[in-house]
Amino acid sequence: MVGVADMKISNQTEQVVITHALGSCIGVAIYDPHVRVGGLLHYMLPDSSLDEEKGRENPFMFADTGIPRLFKECYRLGAVKQRMLVKVAGGSQVLGGPEHFNIGRRNYAALRKIFLKNNVLIGKEDVGGTKARTMYLEIATGKVWVKIIGQNQTIIEL
């Protein structure tokens, strides 16, 4: 279980890592199929310059401090960057114009920027819109599911 501004890394193949109810937050799942190491990060805001002390206290709060940590922790369990599969979900927005209530979009833009700089490709993603999402990462297979919170609880595989 990954909370808000939280991260879990695992190589225990019986585990499924879950993060609940992403609003404008973003969930990033990475997985190395060769060593079966995976990690799931749930960050809340794009940039730790907002509050650097909080960023040091809990790097998983922000994209710029959380994403590097996610990769580093997976490397420690033997994962290799070139083999990593990357999947992304969340970043929803309320309705209305593009201005002001933009945190979901900014969260996603921050991630794209970091990935571009580090040559990381996003395999699949389900971002934006007004949906609430729960995200699952199965360590045995690297499969990622997104559950759309709704009456039918639609599940899609990323």
Binding site: M1, V2, G3, V4, A5, D6, I18, T19, H20, A21, L22, G23, S24, C25, M44, L45, P46, L50, D51, K54, M61, G90, S92, Q93, V94, L95, G96, G97, E99, H100, F101, N102, I103, G104, R106, T130, K131, A132, I149, G150, Q151, Q153
Partner: protein, 294 residues
């Protein structure tokens, strides 16, 4: 076909508003509340007194000294904080029934309501406004209409969602189109039946800012903004997701920039962690809820 007559008929079975909370709402309007008045309100409800002590001693307040009496709680926390606790404890009964039309989790509405109440407090601090128990209460009560409307939304969920998706309108606007009444109006009607103070009733009725009257009171705008920020924070989201409208004029009104909103979310994250005891007021198994909050 409009369901309005059916919806209104269901209001006839509305249970009475919990008495302690009712009497506390009246105190919200008074500039000064004495310890005696507070004691009078809660003394016949031992469960609420127990809750007050439990919450006062929790991480939510982080006091160093242990509190043993109502009197001590008042001295250390002040009237406004104590009013918040009494209203939250008194209102739990209202939110007891599940609301499957909106939330897949049994306590979803309660959790969202507490979140919104906390968010109003965090916003007040960011805006340097007095963090008065009235704001907290309005945040807590803003969605009471969902308690009654849930049944009807559940039946017509697919039609409502279709309107949201095809017409790009908010969930509330779609309720109005499909059911003939939306949860904000419904809440206003309930507030009228329960004799809520006018300001509180209007905050409930207009919390989605769909009428010009909404802009007459900052309290309404605060509740609106807190609600939207809770949706962005995620966690206790319902089946309606984030399908509500963001109005930039509200941000301009409070001179808030996006960076301020990010700060509010950051502070809310800590407040939300510390306030788990408030979420737990509803159920017995606090441990289970802690496990669920991730």
């Amino acid at each position: 076909m409009s369901l309005v007559p059916q919806v209104l008929r269901s209001l006839k079975n509305l249970p009475p508003f919990p008495m302690v909370a009712q009497r506390t709402l009246i105190l919200l309007n008074k500039p000064e509340v004495s310890i005696q008045e507070l004691v009078e309100v809660v003394k016949f409800d031992p469960a609420i007194t127990a809750n007050i002590l439990r919450i006062s001693n929790s991480a939510y307040f982080g006091l160093r000294r242990e509190i043993h009496s109502l009197h001590q709680a008042l001295l250390l926390l002040g009237t406004q904080e104590l009013l918040k606790i009494i209203i939250a404890s008194g209102a739990t009964r209202l939110f007891n029934a599940p609301t499957p039309g909106y939330f897949t989790e049994r306590q979803g509405l309660w959790r969202h309501s507490v979140s919104c109440a906390l968010m109003v407090s965090v916003l007040c601090r960011e805006l340097s406004l007095p963090d008065h128990a009235t704001g907290f209460t309005a945040g807590l009560m803003h969605d009471i209409g969902k308690i009654v409307l849930s049944l009807f939304v559940e039946q017509k969920f697919h039609e409502i969602m279709e309107v949201v998706e095809k017409q790009g309108v908010s969930f509330q606007a779609a309720e109005k189109i499909i059911l003939g009444v939306d949860h904000a109006e419904m809440g206003g009607e309930m507030a009228r039946m329960w004799d809520f103070p006018d300001r509180l009733r209007l905050a409930i009725t207009y919390h989605h800012l769909d009428k010009p009257e909404a802009y007459t009171d900052d309290l309404i705008l605060l509740v609106y903004l807190a609600d939207i920020l809770c949706l962005m924070f995620g966690q206790d989201l319902g089946v309606d997701g984030l399908a509500y409208t963001g109005y930039p004029e509200v941000l301009r009104h409070f001179h808030l920039r996006e960076r301020n909103l990010q700060k509010v979310l950051l502070q809310f994250g800590s407040a939300w962690d510390e306030a788990q005891i408030l979420f737990g007021l509803m159920g017995k198994k606090d441990g289970v809820q802690r496990a669920n909050r991730g």
